[in-house]
């Protein structure tokens, strides 16, 4: 029984880590309708920047946690303003191709700057200890990840549902022309949302780095899982992303525990089943 409980904690922790990484992607897709395949690359930059900041310049995880997402947000700003904006009227295919191409460009830049070695980050001493739950030893950092994941979910929900900005964003999603006519600068809204997506990706990179490690092509590995979460949860739904992340985390953890050889297969199996019974994902918006 204890081992089931311990695996459940593992699964929830892994799931919320996935949520922290995926929520920015989901937000951008939900509001801009842009499937940003370079999201994984922004996540990777967050991780690599955090490495540089903690190892060479400041030695502080906290500064990395603050600075890395801001730098990534600047990259996102430049990408949105210069590359993505002209594609809004061209449709999804060109956006997908553009961001996918960008992912390769970023991959080579990262390899050029940081080389192809495996890197890692150490967490601050207060997080680096272990604690005991269900008679099992757990790294404290994993439990912190659960708290951070829930905090981000609550924050995103509050912003979207309770603030004026959230109302504008939701309105912009439903009817771009109308909200433009009402005097809201919709282009600015899109830029802001894309930058927030960048902040979340960078933040996810920093938070995930101590657990998942930093190495070349880490972004593609993560992107696949993020897309699976996105599809299962329902495209563009933050609540769906949260549910799907935890579901994928728990299913993958338990499949590793019960059928270690099948774990990757079971995740894609889960996606297939969800798509068959709920083509819009678990909590996806109804097709209007």
């Amino acid at each position: 029984m204890d081992i089931i409980g311990a695996q459940l904690v593992n699964g929830v922790s892994y799931g919320l880590l996935l949520f922290i990484i995926t929520c920015g992607l989901s937000l951008v897709f939900g509001i801009l309708g842009v499937l940003n395949l370079a999201h994984g690359s922004l996540y990777m930059f967050g991780a690599y920047l955090a490495y540089s900041l903690t190892v060479t310049y400041t030695q502080s995880f906290w500064i990395a946690l603050l600075v890395a997402p801001i730098v990534v947000a600047l990259i996102a700003l430049v990408v949105e303003r210069t590359l993505l904006r002209p594609t809004y009227h061209l449709g999804h295919l060109s956006q997908v191709l553009l961001t996918f191409g960008l992912a390769y460009v970023f991959h080579d830049i990262a390899k050029f700057v940081w080389g192809s070695n495996v890197l890692s980050i150490t967490v601050p001493p207060i997080f680096s200890g272990s604690t005991s739950i269900f008679g099992q030893t757990f790294p404290v950092y994993r439990l912190i990840v659960i708290i951070v994941g829930i905090a981000i979910a609550v924050m995103l929900w509050l912003i979207q549902d309770k603030t004026r900005w959230g109302a504008i964003i939701r309105a912009g999603l439903s009817d771009k022309e109308m909200i433009g006519a009402l005097g809201v600068n919709i282009k600015l809204v899109f830029t802001v949302v894309f930058v927030i997506g960048g902040v979340l990706a960078g933040f996810g990179g920093v938070v995930a780095a101590p657990i998942l490690g930093i190495y070349p092509s880490m972004e593609f590995q993560t992107l696949i899982l993020a897309l699976v979460v996105l599809v299962i949860g329902g495209l563009g739904s933050i609540a769906g992303t949260l549910v799907a992340s935890v579901l994928v985390g728990v299913v993958e953890t338990f499949s590793r525990f019960l059928f270690p050889e099948l774990s990757m297969f079971l995740i894609f199996g889960l996606m297939a089943i969800v798509l068959v019974f709920k083509p819009n994902g678990l909590l996806g918006k109804k097709v209007a």
Binding site: I3, A6, Q7, N10, S13, Y14, G33, L35, L37, G91, H92, L93, V96, F100, Y104, H107, D108, K111, G115, S116, N117, V118, L119, S120, T122, S130, Q136, T137, F138, P139, R142, I211, L212, G213, Y215, P216, S217, M218, F220, Q221, L223, I224, L227, V228, L230, V231, L235, E252, F254, R256, F257, P260, E261, S263, M264, F268, M271, P279, V287, A288
Partner: protein, 415 residues
């Protein structure tokens, strides 16, 4: 968003997911071709009209993709040795032609054919991925091209897939896994758990370990094979922590090794079970990233940075001076492969026109390498070498490996 757009998004998404899952790595790898062709030109010691006075050595290594750092170390090691003989042997100039295999068997095969047909190479070396070595095996065999495998460790290359023209100066999976078995039984305990990455190499090494360990009298209480490139070991580690055992045998390399060793400590397993594995678990280029979690690991390898021999100290000093970083086991493999080639050419008096004479010369090469004395087994075409057990300790605030035990002249059984 209207219905059609939504549907389109769905299909393109699913398509992309499958695409990424299926060929993620190979797609990534095709990026940096140009990089390798630059290295290629820079290493060519002679111009286009290199004629009679040159011996052409073809080298197939991954310079992009997941194994890129291994390819670079192998290449640097080779060049270090060729530099030390001024790229000359018996009055002939050595010309090294490097090709990027990207760890993809199909690409490797094309590169090898290019090396044979266009460059007319005399000797072939390299291959990090064993799948690459198997893929080129038949072409090498039918064209009678002397090939010295300098990394790829798949057992079968010098067993079922053996060829008159293929010799191996690196290691076999069997040597890596088997050498740890008896030692672990005598020094760690009677019950062990096995965790290895789920790919051919991980399976072969752990199978060899299990054979040797159970033959010595030990009992394997459980085993688990996480996928290669697995990003989180939490679930596996929780499973292992519920098991009665004295130690864990772990076979992981690269980023897998970093995560496994770090998480092994974080989940409190380090205090319960001794962790043993192969040299790649605590290799020179990973230990800095792993940090103190590597302390107390026992590993088996055929070379270690800390080996206290004159040959090794000279090699390490020369390598550090040339590249300003520590050599890895791959650097050593490249260095030794280059030396085997040079010594073979030397016995032939510089005449490599007859492939049968060339492989005969390779088979007779023996010398004291930085890893100890090496020679070839003429039956299996595989190297006979010492294996070392290392212990990772903390010295001056960083982890170092110490050689604590030597197993002399380990010979692959060849079947």
């Amino acid at each position: 968003m209207n219905v059609n757009k939504k549907l389109f998004m769905f299909f393109s998404l699913i398509f992309l997911v499958t695409l990424l899952a299926a060929c993620g790595n190979s797609a990534i790898q095709s990026n940096s071709n140009s990089e390798s062709s630059n290295t290629e030109e820079s290493t060519e010691q002679q111009g286009e009209n290199a004629g009679e006075g040159t011996i052409k050595v073809g080298s197939i290594l991954p310079f992009s993709g997941v194994y890129a750092s291994l390819g670079k170390d192998l290449s640097d090691g080779m060049k270090l040795y060729f530099d030390s003989v001024d790229w000359e042997v018996e009055g002939k100039t050595i010309e090294l032609i490097e090709e990027d295999t990207e760890a993809d068997p199909q690409i490797a095969l094309r590169r090898v054919r290019k090396l044979m047909d266009q460059d007319n190479i005399d000797i072939l070396t390299g291959a990090v991925s064993t799948a690459v070595a198997y893929a080129i095996r038949d072409d090498v065999d039918t064209n009678k091209l002397p090939y010295l495998a300098s990394h790829a460790g798949g057992d079968d290359l010098t067993r079922g897939q053996r060829s008159d023209y293929i010799w191996r100066s690196s290691f076999s999976s069997w040597q890596i896994g088997h050498s740890m078995g008896e030692w672990a039984y005598e020094n760690v305990g009677e019950k062990m758990y096995v965790a290895a990455a789920d790919y051919a190499f991980g399976r072969e090494v752990s199978a060899a370990f299990k054979d040797a360990y159970t033959a010595a009298g030990g009992e394997i209480v459980g085993e688990v094979y996480p996928p290669l490139g697995n990003n989180d070991y939490a679930s596996y580690l929780t499973t292992i922590s519920g098991v009665e055992a004295d130690g864990v045998y772990g076979f992981f390399a690269g980023s897998d090794a970093v995560r496994f060793v770090q998480q092994y400590e974080q989940y409190g397993l380090k205090d319960k079970y001794t962790l043993v594995g192969s040299g790649w678990l605590v290799s020179e280029d990973l230990r800095e990233s792993i940090g103190d979690a590597a302390e107390g690991i026992f590993a088996s390898s055929f070379w270690d940075y800390s080996l206290d021999t004159v040959e090794n100290q000279e090699f390490v000093a020369a390598y550090e001076e040339a590249y300003n970083r520590r050599p890895t086991v791959e650097s050593l493999e490249g260095y030794d492969a280059a030396r085997v080639i040079v010594e073979a050419i030397s016995t032939l008096g510089g005449d490599v026109s007859d492939p049968d004479a060339t492989v005969e010369a390779i088979s007779n090469v023996t010398f004291t390498s930085p890893r100890g004395t090496i020679e070839f087994d003429k039956d299996t075409h595989h190297i006979i070498q010492n294996m070392y057990i290392t212990e990772t300790v903390i010295e001056d605030g960083r982890t170092e490996n110490n050689v604590i035990h030597t197993i002399d002249s380990v010979q692959d059984p060849g079947e």
